[in-house]
């Protein structure tokens, strides 16, 4: 699944591009709540590249992790040894997340709608599901309490849908106006989703609260994007091309972070 790389650049997979693009979005961020899976490798890459001062918070109860290896799960012992602080989950969720200390929360999604609302609970009706998904975990509270939310997921007609089957985590609700009103009225700390990084490109959220494709990954096409989105997607007037992964980014992923290729294949 190697993408068509520009001539002269190293070949890279779509997953590698997705991880690198997500990591770069973390430039300038301070405190990041790390989710299971792809966010895990993206934030570890960011800490080694664009955001050396990034503090990693794991919902398992760790602040300031310095994983000596890529954590195999979000509760890996390597996130504990050498960390700044280990705390109960009660305190992690109460004081760090709900208390407003998290700049970026990372979420994955089985389904996402144009306004960044997320489903990770069920496909089909809740009582008689076609597919039972993992559920919220900490996602629904991260969506509300982290200052902003990054989403990382692959695009497909099944995942990018006009209407999600179950709203597990709030995004921009029915649009920016409603979202801003409700967030203000209910005192949410979070401003909501700010970026969706996929295997094909990078989406940000426009003033209307709907996601807009701002950058296509090298080798990806608008036709591919339209074929993997369940609505007529908004595309930036000045659609850019994501810079391909650098040799150093690829080296970090392949040699240091994921030599077994668990995340990148």
């Amino acid at each position: 699944m190697t993408a068509d790389a520009p001539a002269g650049a190293a070949a890279f997979s779509k997953n590698e591009m997705m991880i690198v693009a997500a990591a770069r979005e973390l430039a300038g961020q301070r405190v990041c709540f790390v989710g299971v899976g792809l966010p895990n490798i993206a934030v570890n890459l960011a800490q080694r590249t664009v955001a050396p001062e990034l503090e990693l918070v794991y919902e398992a109860g760790v602040f300031g992790a310095r994983p000596a290896r890529l954590p195999l799960s979000i509760g890996d012992p390597t996130i504990v040894t050498g960390a700044t602080a280990v705390t109960s989950m009660f305190e992690l969720f109460s004081f760090y997340l709900q208390g407003g200390l998290i700049d970026v929360g990372f979420l994955g999604a089985a389904q996402i709608d144009p306004f960044g609302n997320i489903n990770t609970t069920v496909i089909g009706p809740y009582a008689e599901p076609v597919t039972r998904l993992p559920g919220s975990g900490g996602a629904c509270e991260i969506a509300i309490n982290a200052r902003q939310v990054f989403v990382i997921m692959r695009q497909s007609k099944r995942s990018f849908v006009e209407s999600i089957d179950f709203r597990t985590s709030a995004g921009n609700l029915g649009g920016a106006e409603q979202s801003e009103r409700i967030r203000r009225e209910q005192g949410w700390l979070g401003r909501g989703p700010s970026v969706v990084v996929t295997d094909l490109g990078i989406w940000h959220f426009g003033e209307d609260g709907e996601m807009r494709l701002d950058s296509l990954h090298p080798g990806a096409t608008l036709d591919e994007v339209r074929a993997t989105v369940g609505w007529e997607p908004k595309v930036a007037d000045s659609l850019g091309t994501t810079e391909a992964p650098t040799a150093e980014e690829l080296r970090l992923i392949r040699e240091e972070l994921d030599p077994g290729g668990a995340y990148t294949r």
Partner: protein, 312 residues
């Protein structure tokens, strides 16, 4: 002080886990009580309500074995690997043809913070725990026990979850003394809250230590013997999960589980070989083999000692 609470896993489970109980085996990736779960399977307990933030492999195994009728949880999966087949087959009745004859598993679903809040309310004898979560989601519709509550200071609404008071909580830990005073380091999850919330508590430890060891560092104690009913000494009892400082997570097993859990016969065969076919954790460890175990031992990273001072 009170006498020893040290018991075998068999005796502790036989005496303290009863059919129909609500059982919480907590431990967030760290210190998951596999040895206790297997003993519950072997003793063919029935109609349990199983509570746990992350019903992962251990609850998949227990539910495949038919011990449970209901699951209370917040995230259902094999983290970073895939799904849990036994649970899924009992929760997707509409589609899974092969699961049609399996008993339907009742699900009661929260978020992580919601589950932590439930244990906290249970431990603190509060009628509810308030949190800023669930706003504008479908979760309160799916679970009517998630309710709105208005601030008495006129500044809006938050959500509440009800207390969860397990009949039995089972906690795996690095060490305890014979009276059940239990110490943990590394990830603490919500074991303390789950233990204080429970009517009965089983502590399973890697190492039994003299009372003096606990009393030398009282800030590390997460559970006092006061609320502990049995102390089971079961080294390697958290495998394939891990114990900070003692052994690593056996990731190979988590990856292998993805294939085992995919169909009911392979899962039942695994239970036969690794649970029903063994009489306890010592046999399991022997079957795993010394080499596998040695491969999971970490290098050393000592905490260092601090000074409490002698005040006489």
């Amino acid at each position: 002080m009170p006498g020893s609470k040290v018991a075998s896993m068999r005796d502790a489970v036989a005496a303290l886990v009863r059919d129909g109980d609500t059982v919480a085996i907590e431990g967030f990736t760290h210190l998951i009580g596999f040895a206790a779960g297997h003993e519950i399977i072997r003793q063919r307990k029935r109609d349990l309500t199983l509570a746990r933030l992350t019903p992962d492999l251990i609850y998949d195994q227990m539910i495949a074995a038919g011990v449970a009728r209901k699951l209370i949880f917040s995230w259902l999966g094999n983290p970073g690997v895939g799904g849990l087949g036994a649970i899924r087959r009992r929760a997707e009745p509409a589609t899974s043809g092969e699961g049609r004859d399996l008993p339907r598993l009742e699900l009661e679903e929260y978020s992580h913070f919601g589950m932590v809040g439930r244990y906290t309310a249970g431990a603190a004898n509060l009628p509810f725990y308030p949190l800023r979560s669930y706003f504008e989601t479908d979760l309160p519709k799916a679970n009517p026990l998630i309710r709105e509550i208005e601030s008495p200071y006129g500044d809006g609404v938050v959500y509440a979850v009800p207390p969860l008071k397990p009949d039995v909580s089972i906690v795996h830990a690095q060490r305890a003394d014979a009276n059940g005073n239990t110490q943990v380091w590394g990830l603490l999850g919500c074991q303390k809250e789950a233990a204080f919330a429970a009517d009965r508590v089983i502590v399973v430890v890697e190492e039994l230590v003299p009372e003096d060891v606990v009393r030398a560092d009282p800030n590390r104690t997460i559970i006092p013997g006061l609320i502990v009913d049995a102390v089971v000494v079961e080294p390697f009892g958290a495998h394939p999960s891990y114990v900070q400082g003692a052994y690593d997570r056996d990731n190979r097993f988590y990856l292998e589980w993805d294939a085992i859990t995919r169909d009911e016969p392979s899962l039942q065969a695994w239970l036969g070989e690794w649970v029903y076919g063994l009489d306890g954790r010592a046999a399991y460890v022997e079957k795993l083999g010394a080499e596998r175990i040695a491969s999971l031992r970490p290098g050393s990273a000592p905490s260092g000692s601090v000074e409490y001072g002698r005040y006489e």
